[in-house]
């Protein structure tokens, strides 16, 4: 059992106030999460005591910072059960990780007429880089449709797979619907036609433990700030043989072994993909975040969030006029909804006045909005530090807000 009150004490931002000094209820965790003091203090102490550039200095601080930075790589290797440290690349976030793959792997291995499959519920960051690849190579972009519950149509997916399918790039957990996709099965099916699979685990990393070897994922991307770590840092996991075969994404310092004006020899993995001074403090902070979630234990976190989902579904269903978007059998603690014909932005502003931070808009998933024929939804997304009491208060606030429009 999680001691939620104790956990909440680890997150100073939960004690902050919303607009007009209202006590804050933070329900925007799919956008970004709060950071525990363990992350904040490690980042802080790095800047106070161990500031140095990494991989370059012979001096003490540089060695300490390098060791801390590299120990985060090992933490992530373990977190995803990757085979080797060469397979963990630090980037600035999920977006950059996808761009890295689309650019480097894509331009080397994708030819005109090859097919890349994504889905209707992708975040824009898993759509646009592939459209850019299409521009550059003439490849074909195919889209797996979803049903009105916000579940992928797996029959249609089957039909899209052909011997020309080279990449399946798919969201693990949808940020706008909360759907958990059957990615393990989909990976198998994509592999059967010889495609490589990229998992967008930006939301998935806080939903369930991921074992890249057991799942046989070829690439996986995530952002530190969505797993209680700092902003500006993310991860690309890639199978070593794939990363080995890929050309560098950016050129600069750290990614080279030797440079002359005639010839440059690239550094080994993972440094080949980490050009320039990285977000050192961010990576170190991410290490503390991974330690934090690992220590909580997946079983308890998943059980608690299941209870939050059930409770939220119950109390919100009682709000007059509410309509949910994303009612998949398998879903996480994301409630996307509209109420009658009240525009989500009006809901968002009025809830903000009551101290509730939610997200309203298209959540960077415009094709999802188009599917449902709506411009926007209101979205409450919960983390393990949220409570049933907050959900009760939220449902009450919604009812109050509706009255304004009557």
């Amino acid at each position: 059992m999680l001691d939620i009150q104790k956990i909440r004490e680890d997150f100073p931002n939960l004690r902050a106030h919303g607009r007009d000094e209202k006590p804050l209820v933070y329900f925007d965790n799919a956008a970004t999460t709060f950071k525990p003091c363990q992350v904040i203090s490690l980042t802080h102490s790095h800047y106070c005591q161990r500031t140095a550039n990494i991989h370059r200095g012979v001096h003490y601080l540089s060695e300490v910072a390098t060791a801390e930075y590299e120990s985060t790589r090992e933490k992530l290797r373990r977190f995803f059960n990757a085979k080797s440290l060469y397979e963990i690349i630090f980037t600035k976030g999920a977006t950059e990780s996808i761009n890295l793959v689309a650019h480097s792997y894509g331009r080397k291995f994708i030819k005109a007429g090859d097919e890349v499959i994504i889905s209707e519920m992708e975040h824009h960051s898993n759509i646009v880089p592939w459209q850019m690849l299409r521009e550059a190579t003439g490849c074909v972009l195919k889209v797996i449709p979803m049903n009105d519950q916000g579940e992928l149509c797996l029959d249609e997916f089957q039909k899209l797979l052909t011997p020309r399918t080279k990449i399946l790039s798919i969201v693990h957990v949808s940020n706008s619907l909360g759907t958990v996709n059957p990615v393990r099965e989909m990976i198998k099916q994509a592999h059967a036609v010889g495609a490589v699979v990229l998992l967008d685990a930006a939301q998935g990393v806080t939903y369930e433990p991921i074992d890249v070897q057991a799942w046989d994922a070829d690439f996986l991307v995530m952002s530190g700030h969505k797993i209680f770590g700092p902003t500006g840092v993310g991860v690309l996991y890639g199978k070593e043989k794939l990363l080995e075969a890929m050309p560098p994404y950016q050129g600069g310092g750290d990614m080279i072994l030797s440079v002359t004006f005639d010839k440059t020899i690239y550094n080994r993995l993972p440094h080949k993909f980490e050009a320039g001074t990285p977000n050192i403090a961010g990576v170190i902070g991410l290490g503390a975040a991974i330690d934090y979630v690992s220590a909580l234990g997946w079983k308890d976190v998943m059980q608690y969030k299941k209870e939050l989902l059930a409770h939220g579904t119950k109390v919100l269903s009682a709000v007059p006029g509410i309509k949910f978007f994303g009612t998949a059998k398998n879903k996480t603690t994301i409630f996307s909804f509209t109420i009658g014909d009240i525009h989500p932005h009006d809901l968002g502003t009025l809830l903000d006045r009551e101290g509730f931070a939610i997200r309203t808009g298209h959540h960077c998933t415009q094709p999802v909005m188009k599917h449902f024929g709506i411009p926007a939804t209101a979205r409450a997304s919960l983390a393990f530090y949220n409570t049933k009491e907050e959900l009760d208060a939220f449902a009450k606030a919604l009812i109050k807000v509706i009255e304004v429009f009557q």
Binding site: H343, H345, T349, L350, P375, V401, F405
Partner: protein
């Protein structure tokens, strides 16, 4: 609701949201533009019929949006109908300055009338665009621009 909600969602705004004035198409229009706010998906058309003397004899809007954008469009059409194009442009400028808190409606001279219900919106920077979308679109129509975006 909380004691503050009347600052932004005042009765005038809620009422114009419920029953927007000058909503729909015009039988005859000389000017038209489409306005789009990519952030929220607010999307509207503004059409105007300007006569030879430069008077906006009729104006209407149509589209989807939040209460703020709809009420603002509705109030705007009511405010500019019968005005000269130059007067409407002056109102646009005053309204723009109002929502950015560049003028104080209680102290500075202006012609805003009822439009001052939006004076509190500067506290919600993310909503300023909702209020000003219809005005940008009207100005676009009068300047013969076809599409207008708040981004």
């Amino acid at each position: 609701m909380s004691e503050h909600s009347d600052e932004l969602y005042q009765q005038v705004i809620l009422e114009h949201n419920r029953k927007p004035r000058n909503y729909g198409k015009l039988a005859l229009s000389t000017h038209e533009a489409e306005g789009y706010n990519p952030l929220c998906g607010d999307h509207l058309f503004v059409r105007a019929n300007v006569n030879a003397e430069g008077v906006i004899v009729d104006v209407a809007f149509e589209g989807d949006g939040c209460a703020i954008s709809k009420a603002s469009a509705s109030l705007m059409t009511a405010a500019v109908k019968g005005k000269k194009v130059e007067e409407a442009k002056i109102l646009f400028e005053e309204f723009r300055r109002l929502v950015l808190k560049e003028i104080d409606p209680d102290k500075d001279p202006h012609h805003l009338g009822k439009l001052t219900v939006f004076s509190g919106i500067w506290k919600y920077p993310s909503r300023v665009k909702c209020a000003i979308l219809s005005w940008h679109t009207l100005k676009g129509a009068l300047d013969k621009e076809k599409t207008v975006s708040t981004e």
